[in-house]
């Protein structure tokens, strides 16, 4: 048989690709459940980090213990009971605010205090950044925050994932005098012009810091009505 003929070559590569393709498809199908479980557990870990809970293991149990309900709100603050966990925040954050489905995770801490956790998604310098921010039941005071990134510069932009950065958010307000005012991320020593609360950006990570600020603005602004409704129920 002539191994250099065109027919042989064509048949050879087709057979090879079919074999490799089948093998890959089988691997993918057999591992999918496990991978999805890992990804879900990782998301739960991140959500819990925004209320300062850092479980080493049994992430799913801890999550189910603290996150008592999750639901979706729209821009006008109307609440729908739906699976907030399945919402793709990356996709929602690119839609116009009125069309977005906004997930809220309700967390009941061990001392009975209720916190509301909102997801965020935006762009850093090199790739996506995302995070979760939790507010007290007054709908304004931040309880905790968690940020993550795909590939920001180590030592500079990547510092946003460190507690030294995210820890600054606790106690800041999202609503000031009844108006929604997203927390600014600015150079240390400066004040934002609109009087909003602010945290210090990362030195040398200006674009990433600005990305975090823009992400907070873009992702939390649609929650304004919801946060307002939290505030008025407490009055």
């Amino acid at each position: 048989m002539n191994k250099q003929s065109n027919t042989y070559t064509m048949i050879y590569i087709i057979v090879l690709v079919v074999i490799v393709g089948t093998a890959l498809a089988l691997t993918s199908i057999s591992l999918r459940d496990r991978q999805q479980a890992n990804a879900d557990a990782d998301k739960m870990r991140q959500i819990l980090a925004s209320v300062n809970i850092f479980p080493e293991k049994d992430i799913i149990d801890t999550y189910n213990k603290y996150i008592t309900t999750d639901f979706i709100v729209d821009e006008e603050g109307r609440r729908t009971d739906a699976d907030a966990f399945a919402i793709d925040v990356a996709r929602e954050s690119k839609l116009p605010a009125v069309e977005r489905e906004l997930p809220v995770y309700q967390c009941t801490l061990a001392d009975g205090n209720v916190k509301y956790i909102m997801p965020m998604y935006g762009a850093g310098l090199w790739g996506p950044i995302w995070g979760y921010i939790s507010v007290d039941s007054d709908g304004s005071t931040v309880y905790g925050a968690y940020f993550a990134h795909q590939g920001e510069t180590p030592g500079l932009g990547a510092e946003i994932e460190k507690p030294t950065f995210s820890g600054q958010f606790a106690g800041k307000r999202l609503v000031i005098n009844g108006h929604f005012a997203p927390i600014s991320v600015i150079k240390s020593g400066m004040n934002p012009p609109d009087g909003a609360d602010y945290v210090d950006g990362v030195s040398g990570g200006t674009i990433t810091s600005k990305g975090v600020g823009a992400m907070i603005d873009n992702c939390l602004a649609p929650y304004a009505a919801f946060l307002d409704s939290l505030n008025s129920t407490n009055d």
Partner: protein
């Protein structure tokens, strides 16, 4: 060539990174910490050994004019499998390594070994050659990562090894060590030491 030298040569005298200067790109990328460096090394060993064996098994059937494509298909298939396995069983590490597992495909060591060795040798020597070259690569990766993590973060495998009193006395982690340029300089220093010890590798 004896099987023994096939396995041991790549560890030092014929090291893929130090002597053949292959696979430098990933050495720069994944060596800021020891753990991802080690996992990357193990992944390369697995992919290199198995692709060498597979190519060696089918070497006599491969049409010459598409041999590179066949090699690529086999390597790509194995790399995707490794990546999927890591995602299922070592999620945190796979997140850290992110795109670099996929980039094993472009690691020059793989194509180099397939083309230079597996295409002309039987499966068992090919397997040894794959493991040997993979180990040679891993050793360098781990050495580079050791220095970068120790000097850049003060930790090893994530455990703090530089005592707190050093920091109180004014010691500061060298932030430059965790940036890619220092990986290049570290590799250069290792090559320098290696050449000084092996006089026969020096250019006249």
């Amino acid at each position: 060539m004896a099987n023994k030298s096939v396995f041991f040569n790549p560890l030092s005298k014929d090291n893929p990174v130090l002597v053949q200067i292959l696979g430098i790109c990933s050495v720069l990328a994944v060596t800021a910490k020891l753990e991802p460096a080690l996992v990357m090394g193990l992944s390369v060993i697995a992919v290199l050994a198995f692709s060498n064996v597979i190519i060696s098994l089918i070497r006599n059937t491969i049409p010459t004019n598409i041999r590179i494509i066949v090699q690529l298909v086999v390597v790509a298939g194995l790399v995707v499998t490794v990546s999927q396995l890591l995602e299922a069983y070592a999620y945190d590490v796979s997140k850290q390594l992110s795109v670099f597992i996929g980039l094993i495909i472009t690691n020059c060591i793989l194509m180099g070994r397939l083309e230079a060795f597996a295409m002309a040798n039987r499966p068992w020597p090919s397997f040894l050659d794959g493991v040997g070259n993979g180990l040679g690569y891993t050793i360098i990766l781990v050495i580079v990562a050791f220095f970068r993590e120790l000097l850049g973060s003060g930790t090893l495998f994530g455990y703090q090894v530089v005592p707190q009193c050093f920091y109180e006395a004014g010691y500061v982690n060298n932030g430059l060590m965790i940036l890619p340029p220092m990986a290049l300089i570290t590799v250069a220093c290792i090559i320098w030491v290696h050449r000084s010890l092996n006089k026969d590798l020096q250019d006249k």
